[in-house]
Amino acid sequence: METLVAFCEWLENTSWALAVSGAFELYPYLRLTHFTGLALWVGTTAVVDLRLLGWGRRREGADQLSAQLLVWNWIGLGITFLGGFLLFVGTASGYIINPAFQIKMLALLTTVALRVTIQRNAPVWGRSPDAPALARLAGGVELTLWIGMILAAVRIPNY
């Protein structure tokens, strides 16, 4: 943890991080970037998870949906990360010791691992209209983690 805090202190004092944190007029645009990415990323994740759970319409299988949305799912992650990282660098050492931020990052790592797992297994899991129990579990856990991650993000300013 100390190494991480030291790294964050170094990060927020780099010339480019100082430039970002000094440019207050930039912040709404960084948040816009973060939220645009999130809409793409969370939205394209949720529709696959909901399909695995068997909720909603069944016009597309989870296998087709996952394959169709894969590119924009990762583009969404990339845009989210770009905006999020620039929002983070200005006060990196403050964020890293914030318990809500720590929970958010743990949930983030778990969802990314789950996302890769779901995308790899979707061709098998999504073949039949009703996904196997393990697939439904994966989809349900991922959705729950996302709700928890957003809740953690919303609570960051309270700690």
Partner: protein, 158 residues
């Protein structure tokens, strides 16, 4: 007391103000609704523009997504009302808030038109240019809704 101030002091808004977790849950549900709404609309638009999901049709995507698009819009609006009421005087004073509502209405109407028409559009040999233009405008409108939302919180100071 103005109308917005009295709205802020109705019992159910006061109850939200007294409960930070209720407020947090409303914000989370609002975000979930917005993300699902924007993504399901944008992906159909991107497919019409030939920029996404090219192995299937926009029609199939629209059929699969449409219940989620409108459920998400409902969720975003239902949670948005108490979130607005909670800060009514400061939100109402920010012109971006009213712009956001107008943009959202326009985006929702356009998405409805796209869902209605996407079948006939795809039955023609190539997607008509007018359809692509509508999809592009819908995409830009949803992005503007996000832009206006960010500016609302920026100027209202929440």
């Amino acid at each position: 007391m103005t109308f917005w101030e009295s709205l802020q002091q109705t019992w159910w808004v006061v109850a939200i103000q007294g409960s930070p977790w209720t407020y947090a849950v409303l914000v989370v549900l609002h975000y979930c609704g917005v993300f699902l709404l924007v993504a399901t609309s944008a992906l159909v638009d991107l497919r019409l523009l030939g920029l996404a999901a090219r192995h299937g049709t926009a029609t199939r995507l629209a059929v699969q997504f449409s219940p989620w698009t409108w459920t998400a819009l409902g969720l975003a609006v239902l949670t948005g009302i108490p979130l607005f009421a909670n800060q009514a005087p400061s939100f109402a004073a920010v012109s971006y808030f009213w712009i956001k509502l107008l943009l959202m209405l326009a985006a929702a109407v356009l998405s409805l038109i796209v869902q209605w028409k996407v079948g006939p559009w795809e039955q023609s040999p190539s997607v008509p240019a007018a359809a692509k233009l509508l999809a592009l405008i819908s995409l830009l409108l949803w992005f503007s809704v996000l832009y206006a939302s960010v500016q609302v919180t920026n100027y209202a100071g929440v």
